[in-house]
Symmetry: C2
Subunit: 256 residues, 2 copies
């Protein structure tokens, strides 16, 4: 049974303000809960309802979660009321948002950094985070104006990747300073940029992705060493932003 203050704590995490105040975020469902407990992210509280124990996989997860973190048993109906998804699969975990600073992430000549310059859509954030994770990026740098990576929709779309890859809230100035100190390059994704296929970079390389409608901000565009594009000419403008970013990461991961 949940107390009123416990359910208020969970509900508050559905909003950015609540997450910023508490430094906590929500994970729902079996797959993400498994990813969370296998990641460096610290779980603070689990809510478990009977339906989790319907399957061997769920029972195993329940046992492991109870061993790691305080857990409250709630009814399926209570959990459903707190959920942001259609089905919680019987588990919600409150995790501690991993706050990583730019200085804490090691960079070398093969490092790829993904920079989000006011990317707004949680689904696009998630898609980009999955690609960054798959292509072994060192970190995701979220510049001001970017969607909150710990928004439940963004966490879901990232399918566990945001639990594995460092996500740093930073500014263009701080990023440039760190990048320059390591002899790195800032690239900006832009349909009118040069074909990334023709280039070879000495890393670290940071790839900036702009807002879905407006593209890169003036400040970021001005700071870029080069604007790069998917090598398909004008047709690249018609690619989904997540797809264009994925192809650029693929190509950069080959050339680093």
């Amino acid at each position: 049974m949940l107390s009123r203050s416990q359910s208020a704590r969970v509900r508050a995490l559905q909003r950015r303000k609540g997450r910023e105040e508490s430094g906590e975020f929500l994970v729902e469902g079996i797959r993400l809960a498994e990813d969370l407990i296998a990641s460096p992210v610290v779980p603070r509280l689990a809510l478990i309802s009977p339906s989790l124990e319907d399957t061997p996989r769920g029972r195993d997860l329940a046992t492991r979660v109870r061993a790691l973190t305080p857990a409250i048993d709630v009814t399926d109906a209570e959990l459903a009321q707190l959920a942001t998804t259609e089905t919680t699969q019987g588990i919600v975990i409150i995790g501690s948002i991993p706050r990583v600073s730019l200085e804490e992430v090691a960079l070398d000549g093969r490092s790829l950094i993904i920079v989000l310059d006011a990317v707004q859509d949680p689904g696009n954030f998630g898609t980009v985070a999955r690609s960054a994770d798959a292509f072994g990026a060192a970190l995701i740098a979220a510049l001001p104006g970017t969607v909150d990576p710990w928004n439940p929709k963004a966490v879901r779309a990232a399918a566990g990747s945001s639990l594995r890859i460092p996500i740093v809230d930073t500014t263009l100035e701080a990023l440039l300073s760190r990048l320059r100190a390591r002899g790195g390059t800032l690239l900006g994704a832009d349909a009118r940029g040069v074909s990334v296929e023709q280039e070879v970079y000495d890393g670290p390389v940071a790839l900036a992705l702009g807002n879905e409608g407006a593209g890169l901000s003036e400040a970021v565009r001005g700071a870029c060493d080069q604007l790069v594009s998917v090598p398909i000419g004008g047709a690249a403008e018609s690619l989904n932003v997540g797809v264009a970013a994925g192809i650029l990461m693929y190509l950069l991961s080959r050339s680093l």
Copy 2:
């Protein structure tokens, strides 16, 4: 002012059954309406409300649409009630679904065909359609069990690409027969497939993309000449399906 039968006609197109019975689909908003009238798709009826004429671009579109197709003037409120988006921007067009048969699409040694094997999510359909369009695919073949490409969400996610690229409803048997007659190859996207980077194909090449959860069906998997993957090893499993498809299309478009 809309008659009751006119609004019933529009509403029916929000459901698959209604689209199949009438052979019509809906397009909402300025950008898609512009794409539609620039495409081979035949508009059958336009609904225009005063807010379309708020901008020079909207007024220009209104003039062009009225010259092409019967148009009914409706109020902004009437149009909002019929819309599936938050804002129609003052225009909804009923278009005739372009029914193309496999035989009508010319194929040569450089042709790329995208095969959807029960892809379910309208957003994924749209992302894939945009990539297929950007990489110059000859057609999209939708096998049974695939989301309706003319679903309003799928049309929106495709951002005009479904109006430009031929979309064919077909079966595996018909596709194989056409492909074999042209000496073509059927590839299946699968995280355990061989790296597509290492291969050179004599076209036409068809690339089959499976269901988001279950992957390729047994029948399609069995019919494939080769299973292919994005060359990043196991990490490819963590890519969003639209991103993986986009990278594969990029690589295939280079090797054809």
